[in-house]
C-alpha cells in the first residue's frame, strides 16, 4: 500500500443497447440489467444523504450541476416514469465491496477501494464479468432482440459517458499545487492510455478522419470544472474525498478512457499513482506549463507519433513524448526500487514510450489504440474500404462489446497475441472477494453476513437498523482495517 496514495478506484459507465430492436427504452434496460444481478448484494439502500457532490476544491459550493438541453428534456420525461429516484437508481453494494447501479441511463460499476494497481485492475475486470453476466441473464428472458454491453465512452454522435479513475491524496498541499504539476501529465498519458476512436464528434477545424488515440479527448472543454456532463475538465474539482475531509482529497479524473486492455489500465493508474506520489513528496521540481492544454489534448489524440509540438508558456515547445519522458525520468530517479509493482510500472512505461518512438507496431499487443490500428488496417487492406467508411466505426464499437462471441477484443483474448495480466480464476476471486487490506473488506463482510441488518450503506459508512453505525471515513490503511475489526468484532459477530 502506498502511504501517499493509499486508495484507488475506477468507476465505469457502460454503454447498453437492445440489438435488432428499433424502439426500446435505454433507461428501462439499464434498470432491468442491474436488477438481474444475482450476486449477494445490499439492494436499494445507498446512503445518498452522505454524498457531497456540490462542494468544489476551489473553496465554494455550486447550487446544482449542469447538463445539456437534450438531457434536460430527457429528465423531464424520466420524472413521468412510475419509479421513485431510488427505484430508478437500483443501487447494489456487492459482496466484493463494489457498487453497481443505474447511473442515470448507464449501468455503472464502481470498483471497491483498492490499495494496489494490480488489485484495482483485477477488480475492473471483475466489473466487466459482473455486468456481462447480468446481460446474459437478461437475455434469457423472452424479449425481442438482445442486450449488448459496451465498455467504451462514446456513441459517435456526441454523447459521452465516463470512466473515472480516483486517487485518495493528501489535503496537506494546496489544490493548485497538484493541478499545475498534473495537467501536462494528464493530457499526454493518452499516448498509452487512449482506447482509440475512429473519427471525431467535433466539427469545423477539429473535424478528423482516421484513428484517434483516445475516445474522451474530444469531450474535454476546460482545465478545471466541477461538472461532469457538460464543460468536462482535465481535472474535476468535486471535493468529495469519501474520507476524513481535513486530511484527504479524492482526485476524481474524468478525462480517461475505458480500456479493454488490462495492461493499459495498469499503466494508466500506475503512472498516475507514481506522479501523485512524486508531487506529494515534492520531488517534481521542474514545471512544464502548457499554454493551451485543452487544445493540446485534442491535438495529441490526433497524433499517433507523439511528436506534435505543444506550446509552452515560456514560448518554447515540447512534444507529448518528451513530456511523458520528463515525467518518467523524474519517477525513475526518485521512486525506483521501492516495490515490485512500481518497478513494473516504471519498466513498462519506459518500454512503451521507447516502442512508440522506435517500433510503434510493437504496441499492438497491449495498447488499445495500437491494437485497433493493427486490426483495422488489416481490415481496410482486406476489404478495400477507407477510414471514413461507417463500417470502421462499427468495428470500433464492436471492439468494446463484452460478448465473448462478438467483441473484437474478446476475440483477440481467445486467439492470443495480446498481453494477458490475470488468469480467469484471479478475476473470479475479485468478483467474489473484496480487497483484504482496505475498508472494502468491512463493506463486503457486512453485505455477505449482515445484510438483513443494514439500514443504509455508503463508501464512508454502514448504518444498521438497530441504530449502530460503522464509520469508514477514517479507515484508510490496512492497519486501520485491522484496528476496526479488532475493536468491533464483539459488537458485530460477522467481522
Amino acid at each position: 500500500m502506498s502511504l501517499r496514495v493509499p486508495l484507488l478506484g475506477i468507476e465505469t459507465e457502460y454503454g447498453i443497447i437492445r440489438d435488432d430492436v428499433d424502439n426500446y427504452d435505454v433507461v428501462e434496460e439499464s434498470i432491468r440489467l442491474v436488477r438481474c444481478c444475482e450476486m449477494k448484494s445490499e439492494f436499494g439502500n445507498w446512503a445518498y444523504s452522505r454524498e457531497r457532490s456540490h462542494q468544489d476544491m476551489r473553496g465554494f459550493n455550486v447550487p446544482s450541476l449542469a447538463q445539456d438541453e437534450e438531457e434536460d428534456a430527457f429528465c423531464v420525461e424520466d420524472r413521468k416514469r412510475p419509479y421513485s429516484y431510488w427505484e430508478m437508481k437500483s443501487d447494489r453494494v456487492l459482496e466484493n465491496g463494489a457498487r453497481f447501479y443505474n447511473d442515470h441511463t448507464h449501468p455503472e460499476y464502481s470498483t471497491p477501494e483498492c490499495s494496489s494497481i494490480f488489485q484495482l485492475v483485477a477488480h475492473d475486470l471483475a466489473g466487466e464479468r459482473i455486468v456481462f453476466e447480468c446481460a446474459r441473464l437478461r437475455n434469457l428472458e423472452d424479449k425481442p432482440g438482445r442486450i449488448c454491453i459496451f465498455k467504451n465512452n462514446t456513441d459517435y454522435i456526441g454523447h459521452s459517458y465516463g470512466t473515472h479513475d480516483n486517487y485518495l491524496i493528501s489535503r496537506r498541499l494546496p489544490f493548485e499545487h497538484w493541478v499545475e504539476r498534473l495537467v501536462p501529465f494528464l493530457v499526454t498519458r493518452q499516448l498509452y492510455a487512449g482506447a482509440g476512436k475512429v473519427g471525431s464528434e467535433l466539427q469545423g477545424d477539429n473535424c478528423f478522419s482516421g484513428l484517434q488515440l483516445a475516445q474522451r479527448s474530444d469531450f474535454i472543454e476546460t482545465v478545471l470544472s466541477i461538472e461532469t456532463m457538460t464543460q468536462r475538465p482535465i481535472i474535476n474539482t468535486r471535493d468529495e474525498p469519501h474520507a476524513t475531509q481535513d486530511k484527504y482529497r479524492r482526485l476524481h479524473l474524468i478525462l480517461g478512457d475505458a480500456n479493454m486492455s488490462p495492461y493499459a489500465t495498469a499503466l494508466k493508474v500506475g503512472t498516475t499513482q507514481l506522479i501523485l506520489t512524486l508531487i506529494d513528496e515534492d520531488k517534481l521540481k521542474l514545471l512544464v506549463d502548457l499554454e493551451n492544454p485543452v487544445k493540446d489534448i485534442k491535438d495529441i489524440s490526433r497524433d499517433q507519433t507523439g511528436t506534435i509540438a505543444l506550446k509552452r508558456t515560456n514560448g518554447k515547445t515540447i512534444t507529448s513524448l518528451e513530456l511523458q519522458e520528463f515525467y518518467l525520468d523524474a519517477v525513475d530517479k526518485n521512486l525506483s526500487g521501492q516495490c515490485k509493482e512500481w518497478d513494473w510500472v516504471i519498466r513498462e512505461w519506459a518500454r512503451t514510450l521507447d516502442e512508440l518512438k522506435h517500433h510503434p507496431e510493437k504496441l499492438a499487443d497491449r495498447i488499445d489504440w495500437a491494437i485497433k490500428k493493427d486490426i483495422f488496417t488489416r481490415f481496410i487492406d482486406s476489404e478495400g474500404v477507407s477510414w471514413d467508411d461507417p463500417w470502421l466505426k462499427s468495428l470500433d464499437l464492436e471492439y468494446h462489446n463484452l460478448d465473448p462471441e462478438r467483441g473484437l477484443y474478446r476475440g483477440l483474448e481467445q486467439t492470443g497475441g495480446i498481453y494477458s495480466m490475470f488468469s480467469e480464476s484471479e478475476v473470479q476471486l475479485a468478483i467474489k472477494k473484496p480487497p483484504e487490506d482496505t475498508r472494502a473488506l468491512i463493506r463486503g463482510l457486512a453485505v455477505t453476513y449482515g445484510m438483513d441488518k443494514i439500514k443504509n450503506i455508503h463508501w464512508t459508512g454502514i448504518e444498521f437498523k438497530d441504530g449502530n453505525f460503522i464509520d469508514l471515513s477514517q479507515v484508510v490503511t490496512s492497519t486501520d482495517v485491522e484496528h476496526l475489526i479488532n475493536s468491533k468484532k464483539e459488537q458485530f459477530s460477522w467481522l
Binding site: E13, I17, V26, V27, E70, E71, D103, T105, H106, S116, F118, Q119, D155, Y156, H159, S160, Y161, G162, H164, T228, M229, I254, K340, E341, R351, D354, K357, H358, H359, E361, D365, I375, R378, F379, S382, D389, P390, W391, K393, S394, L395, D396, L397, E398, R406, L408, G411, L412, T415, G416, G417, S420, M421, F422, S423, E426, L429, A430, P434, E436
Partner: protein, 58 residues
C-alpha cells in the same frame, strides 16, 4: 484478497530491450490469431454504429 502477482508471468518474458540499443528496424507484423479476428470483423454489421445511440453520461 490475496492477489496472485502478474509479475511472476512477466518474468518468463524476454527482458526489456535496452533503451540505448533501440532504433528503427523493419516492422514485425506477424501476429498469430489476427486472421481469425479478420473473419469476426467481416461479420460486423456495417451499420452497427449508426444504430448505436446513448444518452449523455458523466
Amino acid at each position: 484478497m490475496v492477489m496472485n502477482d502478474p509479475l511472476r508471468r512477466e518474468e518468463k518474458k524476454d527482458p526489456t530491450p535496452d533503451r540505448k540499443e533501440s532504433g528503427p528496424s523493419s516492422p514485425n507484423v506477424e501476429r498469430p490469431g489476427r486472421d481469425d479476428i479478420l473473419k469476426r470483423m467481416k461479420r460486423v454489421d456495417p451499420k452497427q454504429s449508426e444504430n448505436y445511440k446513448q444518452r449523455t453520461g458523466q
